[in-house]
């Protein structure tokens, strides 16, 4: 059985991104833009995605994102 979880977009949620891909998340009444950098870091910082929170990405190349979770 899967349980909801939260955390860093790439470090915890294992989102697979390429250099200069953008992630958008609604914060402070507007879309914040975050950029995944070629060295694996983020600008300005890695987004923390909360449970049930939406985000979307703008990619330079298509990607597959598969996540398996198990109940602790």
């Amino acid at each position: 059985m899967s349980v909801p979880f939260s955390g860093g977009a790439t470090s915890a949620l294992k989102l697979r991104l390429g250099p200069f891909d953008n992630l958008y998340v609604w914060r402070d009444d507007r879309f914040q833009v975050l950029t995944y950098l070629p060295d694996g870091s983020w600008f300005p910082s890695e987004p923390n995605i909360n449970v049930a929170e939406a985000f979307f990405v703008n990619l330079n190349q298509p990607t597959n994102w598969l996540v398996s979770t198990n109940a602790p």
Partner: protein
């Protein structure tokens, strides 16, 4: 009831009227990969002295700075700046604008201007637009333009404000020039450095030393 509806409509139109367009001020983003190079040496800009600023090109051609100097990322990703979300003042989301990026170093000895970029602004309920269409460009040694104006018995010498460390010098001849600093402090006026001198005595030559 009608009055309440009118107030609601007024508030709605006011909030939309106040909405401002946004862009993602970065030369590395989805659909944008435009590193900045030093001269033609094939070397991407790195180090803490490089800055990028964003200009809106108005319909009459006048450039308006809308984002102050943004540092480059770091030496691990040379050639790239990341300014992030940037508001374009007094332009509504969804409007098309033309933007330009200027890159320079802190002592203003190098600069480079990007190609113009036409983008439709994000903002309101849309994410900021990326600078799609921005191409790589180079920075080269910059030279200030010195202008001279003679008026009312005075000589007014002007140069761009960015060259604040430039020293105004004068000489009486160019054959064996005796360049000496002009001992008048420049004043900031209309985005320019300005020195006013009495137009008396013999002719002199002026230069800016960087």
């Amino acid at each position: 009831m009608n009055r309440a509806l009118a107030i609601l409509l007024l508030l709605f139109s006011m909030s939309h009227g106040l909405a401002q367009g946004t862009v993602n001020f970065a030369n590395g983003a989805a659909g944008v990969d435009a590193p900045v190079w030093l001269d033609r040496q094939g070397q991407a800009l790195s180090g803490e002295s490089w800055r990028a600023e964003l200009f809106l090109i108005m319909t009459d051609g006048v450039k308006k700075r809308i984002r102050d100097a943004t540092p480059f990322v770091n030496d691990r990703i040379p050639g790239y700046f990341m300014g992030g979300l940037t508001v374009v003042p007094e332009v509504a989301p969804g409007r098309a604008v033309t933007l330009e990026v200027r890159v320079f170093n802190l002592d203003e000895t190098y600069e480079g201007i990007s190609n113009p970029i036409n983008v439709v602004l994000g903002g309101d309920k849309f994410p900021p637009s990326n600078l799609v269409g921005l191409r790589s460009w180079i920075v080269a040694p910059s030279t200030p333009q010195l202008s001279v104006l003679s008026t009312d018995g005075s000589l007014i010498l002007r140069w761009k404000l960015e060259f604040q460390r430039a020293i105004l010098e004068s000489a009486s001849s160019l054959l064996q020039p005796d360049w000496k600093p002009v001992l008048v402090d420049p004043q900031e006026k209309s985005g320019m450095q300005e020195v006013k001198l009495p137009a008396t005595g013999e002719g002199r030559y002026f230069r800016l030393r960087l």
